[in-house]
């Protein structure tokens, strides 16, 4: 193939609809060799769909594409895409849960003739790559045993290992640490300079502006504009995305927390799939009106801690106290009743039932009690009413409350999850990656909601691998490493560098040390 054609890919008049949803409507897009192109748009704008088509997994209803100057046929498929050295990092991972990392990463290379793959050779190379990019997982681990964050890393590894010349990354930085994000972006620049082309789908405009040469904006399945980065600014892009004026991030006015602890965790020990202690004698306190952040590289026990708090995962030791009552042995229902709410990291797994309608999903955790049901019989009108309100209040974009949850775009799915978590009268909210994969409008919105709740006297525990988020939202940030808290900073001490180091396990001299190890870290000073 002639690699040096200026235009790497050109797409013309691409249309795609899923059932009744018109995901793409005549989109044109050109990607020239050796450029980094940011692809931005609201949730559900069609970014993923467009790139999935380019990668050959979806067939466009209409339109044509040329790749490296060659017209793609009807038989355009991922196989051919890979041959043409296009690689795609999928947003909803394309990994095989119970195969090992190694097997997953190797799959695209394996042919039907490689009876005996050279595992050792590959393993060596891959270990190198892992070290280079600071990925932290054993190659022999089964993917399903990894946290979502690590799975994201596996996807990146897969892509890198494929040696593609056109890289499509669909929200790659969603769960990376600042350091990893930085490394990744640097890597992209390096690749760009080596003549690779990159399409970067992201909701973080700062990333887009950091690396992209030009930015393409999609809105509701249409191509709005493609502008060189230089002669544009985030504000303008934002405007194009949502088609209305967008006020830049406000600086929150956080209210002072109340003294009494609302959620108290003492020496909590939680095991992971293999019964190794993933959370190791952790203690923390969340007070009313307080937002406490937990920072850390994905896979350092955040998932286990969060799940243990809400009762999905059983604890092996320690105590959980909610509003003064020992909740360690409570059922999930009991905790829910006590006002403990959960915004899960992986909404598709813990947050929603795709087959059920939006309305049903919104009330599913309390449909067994009035007003939603009397003596076990659902009261549809009430539910529909509640759904309507939530849709209104949380701006969920859906054809109707009866739409199956799975047909909503992820952004709206997340809004629904949030709506459910905040409904009723929450007292403690455990929010795990609450804004992951959301466009900035949605992100702002979710954050605002969390702050609002806190202001109303709710205690909020936010897990996030996005430092800005935590630094923006929280009174205190706890840094988690290898199942323990190795550092705590209060709002005035916030500093990306410090926290970043702590996240990688290095305690900087400036950072606050604690005599008796990590035991009583997490208690407010």
């Amino acid at each position: 193939m002639q690699a040096d054609s200026a235009v790497a890919v050109s797409m013309r008049g691409i249309c795609k609809s899923f059932g009744t949803v018109q995901a793409l409507d005549g989109v044109d897009m050109d990607i020239s060799a050796g450029e980094i192109r940011a692809l931005v748009g609201e949730n559900g704008a069609g970014k993923t769909t467009l790139m999935t088509i380019l990668y050959g997994m979806y067939r466009p209803d209409a339109g044509r594409m040329t790749v490296w100057g060659r017209r793609t046929g009807r038989d355009w498929s991922p196989r051919q895409a890979i041959k043409a050295r296009i690689g795609m990092l999928h947003q909803h991972f394309s990994l095989i849960p119970n195969h090992t990392v190694l097997e997953n990463v190797l799959m695209p290379q394996l042919g039907w003739t490689h009876m005996r793959p050279r595992w050792h050779h590959h393993r060596a190379v891959l270990e190198g790559l892992c070290r280079e990019y600071g990925f932290s997982f054993p190659l022999e681990a089964r993917v399903e045993s990894l946290s979502v964050g690590q799975q994201q890393q596996v996807e990146i590894l897969k892509l890198l290992y494929q040696g593609a010349r056109l890289l499509i990354l669909d929200e790659p930085t969603a769960v990376l640490t600042p350091q990893q994000t930085e490394r990744l972006l640097e890597l992209l620049l390096r690749l760009r300079d080596q003549g690779h082309s990159v399409v970067l789908i992201t909701h973080k405009l700062n990333e887009a502006f950091a690396v992209a040469d030009s930015i393409t904006v999609l809105r509701k399945g249409r191509h709005v504009a493609t502008v060189p980065r230089k002669d544009s600014d985030p504000r303008e892009i934002a405007f194009m995305m949502v088609d209305r004026e967008w006020s830049a991030t406000p600086d929150w006015e956080l209210e002072a927390p109340e003294p009494g602890p609302l959620l108290e965790v003492k020496d909590l020990v939680v095991g992971d799939e293999h019964q190794r202690p993933a959370v190791d004698r952790v203690s923390l306190v969340v007070r009313a009106r307080e937002l406490v952040g937990v920072a850390g590289v994905a896979g350092n026990g955040q998932t286990e801690l969060a799940e243990a708090l809400v009762g999905i995962r059983r604890t092996r030791g320690g105590r959980i106290v909610i509003a003064g009552q020992d909740a360690t042995s409570w059922t999930i229902t009991r905790r829910l009743r006590a006002g403990l709410r959960f915004i899960p990291e992986d909404r598709h797994r813990h947050g929603m039932v795709g087959e059920l309608s939006l309305a049903e999903n919104l009330v599913i955790d309390r449909c067994d009690s009035p007003p939603f049901s009397v003596r076990g019989v659902l009261r549809r009108p009430v539910i529909r009413q509640a759904a309507a309100e939530a849709v209104e209040r949380y701006g969920i974009q859906a054809p109707s409350p009866e739409t199956p949850m799975m047909n909503l775009s992820g952004g709206n799915q997340q809004r629904a999850v949030l709506a459910r978590a905040l409904a009723g009268s929450p007292r403690v909210i455990v929010a795990h990656q609450p804004t992951r994969g959301l466009d900035f409008a949605a992100t702002e919105y979710v954050r605002a909601q969390l702050v609002r709740c806190a202001a109303q006297g709710v205690g909020v525990l936010v897990f996030s691998s996005e430092l800005e988020e935590l630094m923006l939202l929280c009174h205190r940030i706890l840094v988690m490493y290898r199942g323990r808290f190795i550092g705590e900073l209060s709002r005035d001490e916030f500093d990306a560098g410090t926290i970043g180091l702590l996240m990688t396990g290095q305690v900087p001299d400036g950072g606050r040390r604690d005599g008796q190890g990590t035991r009583n870290l997490g208690q407010p000073a």
């Binding site: 095989i96 394996l110 039907w112």
Partner: protein, 303 residues
């Protein structure tokens, strides 16, 4: 005498297990690529008839085997069209397919009978009969070649699925069609091959039932053996070795059930005839936990 009893018993077990093993493999390789092969019963049935006919007309049992394979191929292509390309619900399709196969075989059989054809086919005989099966070598000689082919295929499929690169790809398609597609596999082609291979094996199961066991045909002569094979696969955790074990266990149960009648305890024979199923159930209870490939049974349509 004691030894002789065991020799007879073991060869009986192998006889009963062989058709099951073929069919179990047929379900397994298919399911590992994501298609739940409920049609195994039907493929087995058409295979059985084809084997008998081919053997009768050619006079050579091995031609019978070939005939079974031919028909198995045809059945496989039909199933492929339905479950891979359209794609339809695999369970319903499978069950309906079984009915159709029952109809077709029984129809052909009827026409033959009206034509006065005698369906006593030349059998694939064992080198010697169970009398000599007192030594291992004897036992080896006392079962039909198909039994050995079955055992061989178990080994082959195990090595292929779990020890080779293509095997990895094959299993990937069964675990996640989407991810495999993303990794550049042609899900439809892989599944096509899988379904065809599955039907071929099932048809061989039919051949083993007839040529390897009772070289004749009657209506619906498989009598739900396909479903027992299906159960064996789930029981065997979708693993060739364990599935084989399951089939042997079941065969043993059946052989025991018959021999128990010889004891002449005044018990209703049906309590003995329950044996194979009860034994299997107890084994399942002991084994527990069985996980099927995640995408098995889920149609994959390209969007």
């Amino acid at each position: 005498m004691e030894v002789q009893w065991w020799a007879d018993f073991l060869s009986a077990v192998l006889r009963a297990a062989t058709p099951l093993v073929f069919c179990a493999l047929g379900v397994l390789v298919c399911g590992r690529a994501g298609i739940l092969n409920i049609g195994v019963e039907g493929s087995m049935l058409v295979g059985a008839l084809a084997a008998v006919l081919a053997a009768v007309y050619s006079g050579d049992p091995w031609m019978g085997v070939v005939g079974a394979l031919g028909v198995g191929l045809a059945a496989g292509l039909v199933l492929t069209l339905l479950t891979v390309y359209l794609p339809t619900d695999q369970v319903v399709t499978g069950i309906a397919f079984n009915l159709v196969c029952l109809g077709v075989t029984s129809f052909i059989y009827k026409l033959l009978v009206l034509g006065g054809v005698q369906l006593m086919a030349p059998a694939l005989r064992a080198a010697q009969d169970a009398e000599g099966a007192v030594s291992l070598a004897g036992l080896a000689a006392a079962v039909t070649p198909l039994t050995w082919i079955a055992l061989f295929l178990v080994a082959v499929s195990w090595v292929f699925l779990f020890r080779t690169g293509p095997g990895l790809l094959w299993r990937s398609v069964g675990e996640s069609a989407w991810a495999s597609h993303a990794a550049g596999l042609n899900v439809f082609r892989v599944r096509t091959v899988a379904v065809v291979v599955g039907s071929l094996l099932s048809a061989l199961g039919g051949a083993a039932l007839t040529l390897g066991w009772v070289p004749t045909f009657t209506d619906n002569m498989t009598m739900g053996r396909g479903f027992i094979a299906l159960a064996a696969v789930y029981f065997g955790r979708w693993h060739p070795g364990l599935a084989l074990a399951a089939c042997l266990l079941f065969g043993a149960g059946e052989a025991l059930a018959f021999r128990a009648q010889a004891l002449g305890t005044g018990l209703n024979p049906y309590y003995y005839l329950m044996l194979p199923y009860v034994v299997t159930l107890m084994a399942v209870a002991a084994m527990g936990r069985s996980v099927e490939p995640r995408d098995t049974g889920k149609p994959y349509a390209r969007r």
